[in-house]
């Protein structure tokens, strides 16, 4: 396994061949799931705020 730090530090880093592994695939997957979750959460907050506006005052 190649350390992720090495990949991020060296901007010209090039995987030697298709056998090389790192934690980058997992990091990308986590990043993408957080990306979707945050987008959906922002949507939820907006919808909740807008459609329940005035409810509490009642």
């Amino acid at each position: 396994m190649v350390p992720v730090g090495l990949i991020l530090k060296d901007k010209n880093y090039k995987p030697l061949n298709n056998k090389e592994g790192s934690m980058m695939e997992l990091i990308i997957t986590i990043f993408l799931s957080i990306w979707i979750s945050i987008s959906a959460f922002l949507g939820y907050q907006n919808v909740k705020k807008e459609y329940t506006r005035g409810e509490k005052r009642k």
């Binding site: 056998k19 979707i36 949507g43």
Partner: protein, 527 residues
């Protein structure tokens, strides 16, 4: 007789018959341009996905997966789908509330400016025509390859089909045919991917064998460094940048957000976005799995964009192959019907509003655009992927920042919005033209869309700081935040909030799918 020609001919006849029957249900201009504004979730989702999925995905994107950009393309595809949810909530909902017929009309209304309306119309029409050209070339190429008929004849035949549907049945017909075609190509793709992956004893075993090939980074995080960029970080950056660009397109692109105008209500807009996002993520992943697997059989296809056609003909049983290719063609036709219908709606409502019979004007403009696209196709060789990317780039650069600011900024003025849209368009167009003519490959951070977006934001800030927001603009914006009485139905509100409460779990679903479809089999194969 060529079996693929038989399958395609049957599907074409079916679409024409369908278009004919739906046209009988089109009673007025409201039906023709916005499908009576009463489309349910299923039709909005079907049309959203069918408009997005075209030959661009089955040919252009598939080619990139095949060439070794599995990771960058997965990043792009997953980042962009967030645009559906964000777009529906932060733009589509207000668009629906404004009760406009077209998106350029929304910009004109929001900024109380006919100039803004005209500029948005011009940029919208350019984008749609460019995109229509790309889809038509894709359909023509595919049909010609599998049937043996000449490319020009295939372009004309497919044009007759999508023009007939759009011209006779308008938006109503487009929504229904799009949804049927969406069901068709989704089933075809799922079945085909399962067969292709199982040919080597399942997907995990396919990944193991793919790793034995001597192709650099086929499934690794950095992708193939012998193809697009020479380093993994640049390839990943490309995926992220285009992920943001296409997120913008999914958010505000006319062929996507116009579906919201046709929805039954705001709740339909919001709920449909979750299904559209997940549907497109899944379809992209299935295309990626199928396309990258083809490397096991032939890693040196002459044209990578033909990878799915090759798979359909060489790897699948004949019937399934016909089903897949007819499904790909359906994806192309469904996108083309959406684009053409949008052109008609825009010309009749943005350019010739209150000047004659709108439906007739819409239909005539569709005929004229068909002629223009045919002419453009005659002088341009098919470049599906890059033409499609150009269309998307223009929308992202010229519309996205202005669209968001039109809802959420109190300071943006009509001058700022106009300058932003104009400079966003010019910034993207000129830099793209420069890189194309000079033949230079732009560094990943100098992507023309980013240049256009930066120009857009800068011009918007300068233009708005030099002018003042008028009282009318302030009032128009404030009205967008008033929830209409009909949208306050308690049952509907509770249901929508419940949907959105669970929406963040989509991130977890995406994580689990990518973990077990990409990370685990890849790590198992290399360790």
């Amino acid at each position: 007789m060529n079996i693929y020609l038989v399958g395609i001919s049957i599907s074409f006849v079916a679409y024409l018959v369908l278009g004919f029957f739906i046209s009988k249900r089109v009673k007025n201009a409201n039906d023709f341009f916005v499908s009576g504004r009463n489309a349910p979730v299923i039709l909005i989702v079907g049309s959203m996905i069918a408009s997005y999925v075209s030959t661009g995905m089955f040919m252009g994107d598939a080619g990139e997966y095949y060439n070794g950009l599995f990771s960058p393309m997965t990043i792009l595809a997953t980042m962009q789908v967030a645009g559906y949810i964000v777009g529906a909530v932060f733009f589509g909902k207000y668009l629906r509330r404004a009760e406009v017929v077209t998106i350029p009309e929304f910009f004109g209304m929001r900024f109380c400016s006919s100039k803004m309306h005209k500029l948005a119309t011009i940029t919208s029409l350019i984008t749609i025509v460019v995109y229509l050209l790309s889809v038509m070339q894709g359909v023509g190429t595919l049909m010609s390859l599998v049937t043996g008929l000449s490319y020009r004849l295939c372009v004309i035949l497919s044009l007759i089909v999508f023009a007939f549907i759009s011209i006779t049945s308008g938006a109503k017909g487009v929504l229904i045919t799009d949804t049927i075609m969406f069901g068709f190509f989704t089933i075809a793709l799922i079945v085909s991917t399962l067969i292709i992956a199982n040919k080597n004893g399942g997907w995990y075993s396919t990944v193991e064998r793919l790793q034995e090939l001597n192709i650099n980074g086929l499934l690794s995080w950095g992708g193939n460094t012998d193809y697009l960029y020479s380093t993994g970080l640049e390839n990943v950056s490309w995926g992220i940048i285009y992920g943001i660009v296409w997120l913008s397109v999914c958010m505000v692109g006319p062929w996507q957000s116009s579906r919201y105008i046709m929805a039954k209500n705001e709740h339909t807009v919001i709920r449909s976005s979750i299904f559209s996002a997940f549907g497109i993520f899944l379809l992209q992943l299935l295309v990626g799995i199928s396309a990258v697997s083809v490397n096991l059989y032939d890693a040196k296809l002459e044209s990578s964009s033909h990878v799915m056609i090759w798979a359909a003909k060489e790897l699948l049983p004949t019937f399934i192959g016909v089903l897949l290719l007819t499904g790909v063609l359906a994806a192309g036709i469904s996108s083309a019907t959406t684009f053409l219908s949008l052109v008609g709606t825009s010309v009749a409502n943005d350019i010739f509003k209150n000047k004659g019979k709108p439906m007739l004007i819409g239909k005539l403009s569709m005929v004229a655009v068909c002629a223009i696209v045919l002419l453009l196709d005659y002088f341009n060789s098919p470049q599906i992927f890059w033409i499609m990317f150009f269309g998307g780039a223009i929308v992202a650069a010229s519309w996205m920042p202005v669209a968001v600011a039109s809802i959420f900024s109190k300071r943006i003025t009509k001058c700022g919005a106009f300058c932003g849209m104009l400079f966003g368009f010019l910034g993207c167009f000129i830099s793209k033209l420069y890189f194309s003519i000079s033949g230079t490959v732009f560094p990943v951070y100098l992507e023309p869309t980013l240049i256009g977006m930066a120009a857009n934001i800068l011009a918007m800030i300068v233009g708005s700081s030099l002018t003042k927001v008028s009282q009318k603009e302030r009032e128009t914006r404030a009205l967008l935040f008033v929830v209409p009485e009909k949208e306050k139905d308690e049952k509907e509100v509770v249901k929508t909030i419940k949907y959105m409460k669970f929406a963040p779990l989509l991130g977890l679903v995406v994580f689990l799918i990518l973990l077990f479809v990409w990370v685990v089999p890849y790590v198992k194969a290399i360790v």
